[in-house]
Amino acid sequence: MLDTAIAVETPEGILLELRPAGLNARFCAFLLDWAIRLAVMYAAAFIAAFIGGIGMAFWIILIFALEWFYPVVFELTQSGATPGKRVFGLKVVMDSGLPITPAASVARNLLRVADFLPFAFGFGIVNMLVRRDCKRLGDLAAATVVVYESRVETTLAPIEVAPIAPTMPLAPEEQAAIIALAARVPTLTTERLDELAALAAAVSGDRGRTGPHVTRRVLGVAQWVLGHR
């Protein structure tokens, strides 16, 4: 399979699909988080400079907290993602597809030190590139995975075509393919749609023929298969 999707089985016996996020998306999210942390640090530095001694102490503690616990705090919220990850539609989940546990979040973020070695996240990047599920070392040890959160909402645009009964018996996969063609109508050019419909022309008894007329008949079969009568 070309797909990087991971299937996880639930106790109910169904397979849920996780789509791991690759290096590119995660790097963008990392840059954004880094910029946010930097901004907070600078803002706090100004305030700390006014307060003096104790202010400086809190500033150093703040740097420390941002360095180690910024991701942990955000990963344990409802969204399971740092602000950077949220902007790019990513979230951290357990291998089982469940929300990340506090222990796993702590582990994966403390182990970032190991990913950073030998320099500039070398081990982490190599690991993400060679693994299909794009995990860095911290993810491996903590059994977590960074996934795309939202799935694309697919809809079926209504088409004004009269339903036609297919002229041959259709296997479930064939029915699905015809309906999928109908669902793609709004995104295809007329020419491309005609070409694709010509491949399926056998279903309406138009094998070998092509053109807008055949396309309408194939889409008619799609309507019939969907359940329109």
Partner: protein, 325 residues
Amino acid sequence: MMTPLRFEQLYQDEWTELEGLLDQAGGRRRGTPASTSGARLAALYRRACEQLALARARSYPAYIVDRLERLTTRAHQLIYRRRELGLTQLKDLIARDLPRAVRANLPYVTTATAVFIVPTLVLGVLVYWQPELILSVVDSDTASSFEEMYSPTAASIGRVREASTDWMMFGFYIRNNISVAFQCYAGGLFAGLGTLFFLAYNGAFGGAMAGFLTARGLSSTFYSFVATHAAFEITAIVIAGAAGLRMGHALLAPGRFTRLDSLVRATRESVVLLYGVTAMLCIAAAIEAFWSSGNWLPPSVKYGVAAVCWAAVLGYFVFQGRRAD
């Protein structure tokens, strides 16, 4: 005959209801009371699972399967969510889980202690015997600044010149020491070699400093300074190292598990130790900044308090939570 459209018509009320319940439980809809019916949600979730299995088996159109996948994924996340944060868990952690985890990992704790202590003693004796050896560990400026920090005439012991207050040193100690401990832990991912290196390195550095300052006749300020917070700091760093060694050993000798499963298990178990390490290093930093550094206290008082601290820390790890064993 069952067609995709009829399937959708039959069940879409349930799907809408489940979506509503999920929004409510997830807090996405404001103003609704948190009286989400858990039983109803679970029942609808199980039905959605069945319907998803059916829809997939019958190759129903993508928009139906996708909608069911979205629904079941969200409900699955909500229903099987594990709550691990809370005051009860914190109490259990302190009263039972942490000391038990340390005892359960005793071989690793012992090894980590040895790897830390042996270089400390070796370098300590070496540098005491030949003080100029300190220059092979740090440069001369650093050495003389350490000498200055621990001189009996210093305004505040152990403070670097740029720091103006104890508070600033507190922040500095927290950041520095916890980072060292976390490095010791994370190094375990490299078959434990990183952990061994960081433990030995930090032990050697501390030993060299102690040897050098003793040779310079500053032993009373230096030892009375480190004795108290060392009870927390050295113990914490050794425990962090033990957690790292646990991971490294799990990778090298996975036993009946796959290497990856073995690592995941070891990591999950070692995190408890890390909670303890973080807390202990915060205590250590507070002591180091506000108590150890005060040169108005006579060394005898500091040694007394240090003895109490050591006894308390060791006693905690040896005896606490035994009854639950």
